[in-house]
């Protein structure tokens, strides 16, 4: 397994994430229970969407203390590639792997729609040339309203750590932020679901370039063909 997808009690996008990586993109992927160690040889980790621990207390607050999280912290510290999607993004923020926090949508509604997103020129992998200026990806969340204090927000903007912005904004997220990365560019988090936009029966296919951008270091070092 090159790509590990962490399963918490209440994760529900784990199978979709595995399917999109293994069967659509073609990299060996597997699901890893949150109480098990991160397997040796893993080159990327996806923290999938869902409602880990029922979203009790705060979204991601309890998952943050799962046994596998110390392995994940170490993996990220060593430069390992980590992507948190939706609840996974909330877990990465709670654990401090990404700055800020996600609170209730300002509309007080669960938002489930195909969302138009503006791509930012963040780094050599996530930019308008590698992806597109505009993407459409499914969103499905009640707590996607990104919040950070003024200083953290200024740092995010100054270091080009914003990956995607909502256009228009569905949840009140500050600076329209839909996805960010850490300063070193190995930990990524986003509320939209790229794994739900990779096949012709999905509403759109824009998840494919996003997942490929995240998995690029693995794709470059493997014999996997880049064509869809």
């Amino acid at each position: 397994m090159k790509v590990a997808i962490i399963q918490f009690p209440g994760s529900n996008c784990d199978w979709d994430a595995e399917h999109s990586v293994q069967n659509v993109i073609g990299l060996p992927a597997g699901r890893v229970w949150h109480k098990d160690p991160l397997p040796e040889g893993v080159e990327a980790v996806i923290v999938p969407g869902g409602f880990s621990f029922g979203d009790y207390l705060r979204c991601g607050a309890i998952a943050r203390f799962s046994p596998i999280m110390s392995d994940l912290q170490r993996f990220a510290d060593q430069g390992g590639q980590v992507l948190g999607i939706c609840n996974g993004f909330q877990i990465l923020c709670e654990s401090g792997l990404l700055p800020g926090a996600l609170v209730r949508n300002d509309c007080m509604e669960f938002r489930c729609l195909n969302q138009s997103l503006k791509v930012e020129d963040s780094n050599e992998r996530f930019n308008t040339e590698a992806l597109a200026a505009q993407l459409t990806l499914p969103i499905a969340h009640g707590e996607g309203n990104y919040r950070a204090d003024t200083e953290v927000l200024a740092d995010l903007e100054a270091n080009n750590q914003v990956l995607l912005r909502y256009s228009p904004n569905p949840n009140g997220s500050i600076n329209d932020i839909a996805g960010i990365r850490n300063p070193t560019g190995n930990v990524y988090g986003m509320m939209p679901h790229p794994e739900r936009a990779v096949e012709s029966h999905h509403p759109c296919l824009d998840g494919l370039p996003v997942l490929r951008a995240f998995l690029q270091p693995l794709l470059q070092s493997s014999s996997v063909k880049l064509s869809a």
């Binding site: 207390l57 705060r58 607050a61 309890i62 203390f65 923020c93 709670e94 700055p99 800020g100 926090a101 609170v103 209730r104 949508n105 300002d106 509309c107 007080m108 309203n145 919040r147 950070a148 204090d149 009140g172």
Partner: protein, 81 residues
């Protein structure tokens, strides 16, 4: 002893629940009410007594799990129940 932890959204953070509740309060005719914030309380029994060490332990619990310092403040009360 009994510990009651009160967690509330930071005053600098948007509180959509508080805003929605405030709107409902105003729709009931209570126009003199404003600044509604919705938080949560967590109560638990704890062995020991109110000492600086116990308070350190409760602070660690509040900072790490019961509240998120990015978006929330907390305070707690210790009673002998």
């Amino acid at each position: 002893m009994k510990v009651t932890v009160f967690v509330s959204p930071k005053t600098t953070v948007l509180d959509p629940q508080g805003a929605a509740v405030e709107q409902a309060i105003k729709s009931l005719g209570h126009h003199s009410i404003e600044g509604v914030r919705v938080g949560k309380t967590v109560t638990f029994q704890m062995e020991g007594s109110d000492t600086p060490e116990i308070r350190d332990e409760i602070d660690r619990l509040c900072d790490g799990l019961l509240s998120n310092p990015v978006i929330e403040d907390y305070r707690y009360e210790i009673t002998t129940e």
